[in-house]
Symmetry: C2
Subunit: 191 residues, 2 copies
């Protein structure tokens, strides 16, 4: 009897390979043929899961965002960790985080001209805002204008991540973490 | 006698058209043929100035960054203006600023896989940092850790600009300006 195939797992494995290829070589180089070859499937199998290159990109984007969310959740499960420091896992401070941001970079130009991709991007952006808002509240429940400050913190995080993605040598993990920490201290006015 | 042709002007005019097309329709849609048709030149003329699509993208990127710089310089020439508020012109708060950011978005994914494009991007990033550093110094010469704060401010500006580019309805010019102002107040600890 053939082994039962878990379609969700197969789909997820292909999305991960697509994310790797997109991050490493850019969207144009990450063809369905190349994803299939790397995964060891036929292109027919890949197109069964992702009917178009656009669908593959969306899946790769979701895969990157969801893995980041899972890594954050694992940290958050440890209640003794500092709520604002946990958010550092959202930055490109390791291989997986760096891959995620490189996928986002490839995704954004298409999202600027595609309503569905843009909506997905806004959803994750608003998810990031909620995580930051919750962390600020945990760190300092009496903080004034917590929504405004969460927005500023998300902006700073985005900017740090983009600079670090383009200039990994100039932005090693420590510098990203330190910049984030300094920013949080300013927000909380802990000097 | 034929009119003397100013090659720099012609090159600049083509770069502006390329930037418009890239911002409005994305990089893939902005072909050399399309740029030529919009400019009213033959493709031969366009390829005389930009030998490849990559060269055209680089020229469009520079055009966008340089126009932003010129607009900032015009504001800075008025010494009575507030140094930190002047920097708002770097955000996508009007048609021209919005166009610039949409061009950057199209440029970034290629820059992530191309050393020369990445170096250009880092140059402009470091230029932005200098402008912000100078403004912080003008606003508050005795500010502590001015380099660290300029880095944080550049990060926040990048993040505000990206969110506003993807969500122009959620980020009208006033919200961008207010978020920037609040951020600057936090940096200067003016509460």
């Amino acid at each position: 009897m053939p082994a039962a195939v878990n379609h969700d797992e197969k789909r997820e494995a292909i999305a991960r390979i697509a994310a790797d290829l997109i991050a490493q070589h850019g969207l144009d180089a990450a063809t369905i043929r190349q994803v299939a070859a790397t995964a060891g499937y036929s292109t027919t199998v890949v197109t069964h899961y992702f009917a178009s290159k656009r669908a593959m990109l969306l899946a790769a984007y979701r895969h990157a965002a969801e893995s980041t969310q899972r890594r954050f959740d694992a940290l958050a499960a440890d209640c003794s960790s500092d709520p604002l420091s946990r958010l550092e896992i959202l930055l490109p401070i390791d291989e997986e985080g760096r891959r995620a941001w490189r996928v986002y970079l490839q995704y954004w130009p298409l999202a600027d001209h595609d309503d569905e991709l843009a909506a997905e991007q806004r959803w994750w952006s608003s998810n990031g805002l909620s995580l930051i808002r919750a962390a600020l509240w945990q760190a300092c429940p009496e903080l004034e204008d917590i929504d405004g400050k969460a927005t500023i913190a998300l902006s700073a995080m985005l900017g740090i991540a983009i600079q670090a993605t383009f200039d990994p040598d100039g932005w090693p993990p420590n510098r990203q973490r330190e910049t984030w920490k300094t920013h949080c201290r300013l927000l909380l006015a802990r000097r």
